[in-house]
Symmetry: C2
Subunit: 191 residues, 2 copies
């Protein structure tokens, strides 16, 4: 029995920034070259405007062990790649039977989910929206607004992250801008 | 493998109220007659002013099962019982090795914790404070302000609640008002 000391982290509820700073994971467009459906749009951006910070995750450095409750903020910067809105890579939990909960803090976006048995779900998140990802659902978040989309998340330490399955297969649904509107469409490349 | 549907709950980040309304647990002073150190102060209030709503918990009705991530808001109304500030009953998790995380939304207060091996910890929570209750720590929250103290919490579905141990033994530390200040003192009645 290893007894850890309790601690607090002060989160700026508007920007999502942690104080004191903990681990920060930054995802640039160059890290997501196969994530967006329009791969030529990715290459055009990288060539013409250079690299771009798409999102960052501020996360407490807790052990990824059973019984711990990991928590983070995610900050997705506004923008698009082709018609597709900025988003996270998305993942299943390595332990598929572990859920997750989000709480929207600033900006707005979508939570895109799917199961390995073919179900899909897309939910809107605003400030104050608690969104529940039940066990077995892969999850990705998308910034559909014009300011940073910021949310808090909590998940079990033993859940783990499986990014590989999504990198190989993609998500069944895409969130795109069409005629100035946010539209959820089928991903033609989904395997 | 039982696949649940994802869902959202809209939380008023100032009041903590859920929309749509889920389960609401209301704790009145009459439910907490042995919780406060000054039991005669409890009886005086019940006799002179009648019953009093101390706190309420708005909680999603998820199954208390392994892999689920339960979440709630807690709203502790301001006030004192004798010198002791309004607080929750407090509990250990039935599975002692399960942690919990809080996020302060409105008002201010303290998170009072202790382990069965004699350690204690008291942390301040303001809006934006993410407070981590590691595995093995009993936890209670206290409103030390003059407006409702509201926070979001998430914990594993299998954690369970053990209120009985705290009802029998109490907490080692009390949060009281002394000369207009918030002070943490030893609980003389702690067994």
């Amino acid at each position: 029995m290893n007894i850890m000391q309790p601690f607090t982290t002060q989160i700026d509820l508007h920007s999502g920034v942690f104080n004191p700073e903990r681990q920060i994971i930054r995802r640039y467009l160059s890290d997501m070259q196969t994530t967006y459906a329009d791969e030529s749009a990715v290459q055009d951006i990288l060539k013409q405007e250079g690299n771009r910070l798409v999102y960052e995750v501020h996360v407490t450095d807790l052990p990824e062990e059973e019984g711990q409750l990991l928590h983070c903020t995610t900050i997705i910067y506004p923008g698009r790649v082709g018609t597709e809105y900025h988003m996270t890579k998305g993942h299943y939990h390595s332990r598929r039977d572990r859920g997750e909960v989000y709480l929207g803090l600033a900006g707005e976006g979508y939570l895109v989910m799917q199961t390995e048995t073919g179900e899909t779900s897309t939910l809107s998140i605003q400030p104050g929206t608690a969104a529940y990802v039940p066990p077995y659902w892969a999850h990705r978040t998308v910034n559909t607004g014009v300011v940073p989309f910021v949310f808090f998340a909590a998940w079990a330490g033993e859940a783990g992250h499986d990014y590989g399955t999504i990198e190989q297969l993609g998500f069944a649904k895409l969130v795109v801008q069409h005629d100035g509107q946010v539209v959820v469409i089928d991903n033609a490349k989904y395997k």
